[in-house]
């Protein structure tokens, strides 16, 4: 991403929206990091005795190719955070990347919600928190005004 991509007069409203998005991404990142560590240490019991939580985190759907799904969440949220920060500083291409990454996170969230509701019949509160973050991020992507005006 080059500095040339920056627009001349960064929209204050857009900057605020992307800053809020970055903050949401940090919450999601913390949640996904915590779940990844639980998966790596095998501590599915860290749900304070919540049966549903253990059921979800200990299920076959909690891993893809031997890697914890939460690990992909860490990568996703971190990428989204980085894009949101660059977008807040008015890097035009970062806005596009941010929308794509959030779209992927949102689609993954829908799949994981489906798994919890219809395949496992159990919900994990950490996963629901992450789902809420994804919905908020998607809402921000939709709400953020697009602009074709680029500076310099």
């Amino acid at each position: 991403m080059s500095k040339d991509e920056q627009t001349a007069a960064p929209s204050r409203g857009r900057m605020i929206l992307y800053s809020i998005a970055a903050l949401f991404c940090l919450f999601g990142l913390a949640d996904a990091t915590y779940l990844t560590i639980l998966a790596l240490t095998g501590e599915t019991a860290a749900c304070s005795g919540q049966a549903g939580c253990q059921e979800v985190l200990g299920s076959v759907y909690a891993k893809v190719a031997g890697l914890p799904v939460a690990g992909f969440g860490v990568a996703g949220y971190f990428t989204a955070f980085a894009c949101a920060i660059f977008a807040a500083f008015d890097y035009a291409r970062a806005r596009k990347f941010f929308a794509i990454v959030v779209g992927v996170l949102f689609a993954s969230t829908l799949w994981l919600l489906y798994v919890q509701a219809f395949l496992l019949h159990a919900f994990c509160r950490y996963c629901l928190f992450s789902a809420a973050i994804c919905f908020l991020l998607m809402g921000l992507v939709v709400a953020t005004p697009s602009s074709r005006v680029s500076r310099s």
Binding site: G42, A45, G49
Partner: protein, 216 residues
């Protein structure tokens, strides 16, 4: 400066995330189980057994007594494939549970933890109803061949109580709220799998390699 600010923020967040994750991982990673016996844990079975069953138990809890018998049966069936680790998790609702845990730890001072473990569960229905359990526990100590005077002194040792407390804290940190709670290769067993059929199935599944050991 503003040009580099987004890069700086992203790098700082990456470092903080990585650092926190690493610290959390180190804090939550259980001690290697191959050193379990050396670290004072109560272990039965071979260190290289493919399946480690950890039990958080309360000597006054009736289902724990049943579970103790079931685990013995599983050990007999599976032989060297299984090893069992016992952690104390005396529940506040059981008035003599902590005293029983201390008695088992005092027996450990003379290398007879498992003998006391077995007799406490065997005689549970008797001492659980007693008002004074100390004379009964001293009788058990005598039965399993302990030096009773030393046993009585060991009961008052702070390190004996500290071991019970440490086990309880370990259980709480791993989400244990009731007894018995079992972990198969460090994965918590669901409460509905605490019956003989489901437990046997879970053990077979774990031994088939679907649930690899997480400790090395």
């Amino acid at each position: 400066m503003k040009r580099y600010l987004p890069f700086l923020i992203v790098v700082v967040v990456a470092l903080v995330t990585f650092g926190s994750a690493f610290a959390l991982y180190r804090a939550r990673k259980p001690a290697p189980l191959k050193d379990a016996a050396a670290s004072g844990l109560h272990v039965r079975g071979k260190a290289n057994a493919p399946l480690t069953i950890e039990e958080f138990g309360d000597f006054q809890c009736p289902p724990c007594s049943i579970m103790a018998g079931l685990l013995k049966q599983i050990e007999d069936e599976q032989g060297s494939k299984v090893r069992v680790i016992f952690h104390h998790f005396p529940l506040a609702m059981h008035v003599h549970a902590r005293a029983a845990a201390l008695a088992a730890e005092a027996a450990q001072e003379q290398g007879r933890f498992w003998e006391m473990h077995d007799v406490l569960y065997k005689e549970q229905s008797l001492w659980a109803k007693a008002t004074e359990v100390e004379p009964l526990f001293e009788g058990y100590a005598r039965t399993i061949g302990l030096d009773v005077e030393r046993f009585k002194k060991d009961l008052a040792k702070p390190e004996v109580a500290a071991r019970v407390d440490a086990d309880h804290e370990l259980g709480a940190s791993r989400g244990v709220t009731s007894t018995p709670t079992l972990f198969l290769n460090n994965v918590a067993l669901k409460p509905d799998a605490m019956n003989p059929t489901a437990l046997h199935k879970a053990i077979e599944t774990a031994l088939e390699g679907k649930d690899k050991p997480k400790h090395e």
